[in-house]
Amino acid sequence: MANPSPELLHGTLDALVLKTLAGGRRHGYAIARAIEETTAEVVAVEEGSLYPALYRMEKKGWIEAEWGLSELGRRAKFYRLTPKGRRHLAAQTAEWSRFAAAISRVLLTT
């Protein structure tokens, strides 16, 4: 399947999900929508990558899940950031800004 959006760099999806959850608990669909809306649809989150990533991060203990009611009154599985996940997000963010700054220095210098 052709992917029209820019390729997500390895590990970036994890960071985006964690960042999204930093604002509070969300279910899987809401996470996807939030990323899409924030990036103005530049990044289309593929379901095929999102859910395995969620399950993996749950196993790593970065996020935890609980069942609750969605805004439309349907039962849904909500994810929430754990303290361990918050620490990982901070580390990832720092890493990213160092990386982005370095790339920018190369690409944007005339």
Binding site: G28, E47, G48, Y51, G61, R75, K77
Partner: protein, 878 residues
Amino acid sequence: MFWRPRVGDEVDEELTFHLEMRTREYIARGMDPQLARRTAERRFGDLGRMRTILHSLGTRRNRQMERMQYFGELMQDLAFTIRQLRKNPGFAAVAVLTLALGIGGTTAIFSAVYAVVLQALPLRDPSRLMLVGEIYQGAPHVMSVGNYVDTNVAIPDFDHGLSALNYANFNLADESTPERVVGARVTANYFDVMGVQPILGRTFTTDEDQPGNDRVVVLSHRLWVRRFGATSQVVGRTVRMNGVPYHLLGVMPESFDLTTDSEELWTPIAFTPQQRATHDEHYLTVYGRLKPGVTRRQVQSQLDAVAMRLRRDFPKDDETISFGTVPFVEQFIGDYRQRLLTLLAAVGVVLLIACSNVANLLLARGAVRAREIALRTALGAGQWRIVRQLLTESLVLAMSAAVAGLIIARALVTAVVAWSPSEVPRLEQARIDPVAFGFAIVIALASSVLCGLAPALRLSRRRDLQNGLRDGGRGSTGGQRDRLRAALIVAEVALSLLLLVGAGLLIRSAIALQQTATGFEPRGVLSARITLPVTVYNEPAQVSETLRQIHDAAVAIPGVSAAAITSFAAMGSGGGSNGLVPEGREPNAANQIPSTLRVITPDFFTTMGVPIVKGRNFNDGDRRDGPRVMIVSARLAALAFPGQDPIGKRINCCEPGPQALKTIVGIAGDIRSRGPALPPGPEFYLPLAQVPDVVWNWFRTLYIVARTPGDPSALIKPLSAAVMNVDRDLPLFDVRTMEQRLSGSLATARFNTVLLSLLGGIGLLLAASGIYGVIAYYVSQRTQEIGVRMALGATRGSVVRLILSQAMRPVAIGAMLGILAATAASRVLASQLFQVSSTDPLTIAAVVATLLGVALVASAVPARRAATVDPTRALQSE
């Protein structure tokens, strides 16, 4: 606790929800509902595959989380337990020490069992190695050369054929002092049959296993290290043994020193043609290695066929011959397997008693903690969670006990090895190694469950917990819990009774053995052995002259009141056995009386303190050229000539021709020659001066016995000096007082007796402290009730009686069960008992009385305390 649905439902519901939300989104953007649904699904790609992936990820996640949770709780439990134990150091110390005693003892005996019984022999495939022998008294023993040779050629099912071995002593004399070495003459295939290779040089060839070529020797590792400094240049050297040079061929590996007293060198056995034709004279130890796929039974039928032919071909020597096999391992370990397993069982019983004591302690502590446990339950902890927490406590106790137990075991192993009879094979190899360590950990785990499970289940029961909350930690006084305590007392009493009966039976046997008259007077007698090698002493006249000189020199030692030379003293090795046929009876096997022979100088009887009960002793008149004379033991006289006067009667023995008939001139008192436990057998004596030339080779190793009114060990130095004076190449060996020989023959019995008594004592002590603990707890729980009783007019005496009757009921039941168990189990001791039945009522009665007495004392202390309760104060505390 998390509420966690099955992974499959979780995945389905989550994905369905997502699809619905997406579809809704697309419809909201104006898509046709059907298209919206399809588009949403397409974003997932293969939905089935996605489900599978998420399912496996979810399962793994759940497992991981369970582990984390379990581990977290374990850490919590551990931290909590350690906190609790530090708050109660007295309880912790008593529990750990009790268990450590059990675990340490069990581990120590286990390491002995491992070294002696379980450890594999360092031979190739030892299970196929068999001792092959002529059946004698129901078991295969040694073989004659002729029978060995004929069997060897007739049976093809042994790898490398049958090997033969004959133990022999060698006087090793080179630059350093002469030394007596136990060696073996073996056939060339011996090392192949045993399955060992030399570490240096080679073993001998079939050519060297021929008369005339046989002056070659292979050393054991032990002798190589001790005598040759473990240098590799020994191969090719010449060693002087028995006065002649031997060519040194090789050295065997250290692992082939199977025991500390196994043979130290090997030379070829080199049968002469005459020897090959001899079917009498049974002295060869024969081993065979079964070929792969061949069973003992197959070999047995071949042996039976050979035996049948031998019976036909050699009716005189082989009239009743039959052959049998015994696995080498079995023959090697002997009856120590059973003795050691008995000890292991005994020490296991001590461990069980220790466990029930600790279970009791845990129960008592649990009663104090009832309120805390009730609180935890009220806060949502499940029963299993509480059980786990309580088991963690017993686990921590048991693991600490394992550490302490290993320290105890190390000390015990050292003591047992140093102190045990030296003939137990391989015992010196017992040590606390990884195997013993693993064993200690496993039994610690087992005992933590054993002592912890029942209390944990009991304490975590909901009904009891509600009581626990209500009566504020005073503990419930329900009969249920007391029944468990009573059951523990029953078990402890029964188990220690079992141990004490075993110990009691062995002690009674030991006393009986000590009091058994051996038929000779061991006090004040020194005994030592010498060998006159054939290579130096090959003239009979030269031999008798040398022996006369040695005898005279021994008698001349100041302080010696009498001294004699004999082919066999008593206890230990030496001595021949002959089948005697009284004159006038057919010389066939049925009429033979197998009797122990001693060739002696006349002063043997005075030196050893054996009475001549009838007739006369030998004297200087009994010479080579005179008529052949013999003295028989009272037992032999009774067997050979029942109801008649044996003096003057004649017996056929020991040599061919007219000299074979020997006239009985005297009857000597019976001797228990093989130890006090064995009844005296038929024995006979011949004068050394009349030993026929043809059999001199049988008496090259002789004993010198000397009696002194003082300390016999003071004779050791002057005696060896006296012998060195006659021939400086003759070493004295096996020098021991007769009392040492006697006590040596009882060493194994004594070892088991002392150890079992020790274990019985420990069991009794543990049981007593267990009874005390339970009764003391009982009293403390009933202080109020006792107060009420006393306020209502009960006397102190009646209170004491009440408590004692409460205490003694489980003790009585335990004693009853213990008697039943003991009468059933003591049968395993039967072979170790002497003049005591394994269900000896006196021993059982004495043990029961001791146990009841100890139990009474243990419960009397808290009972007296109960009687001093002040009724008013007891009631006020309510």
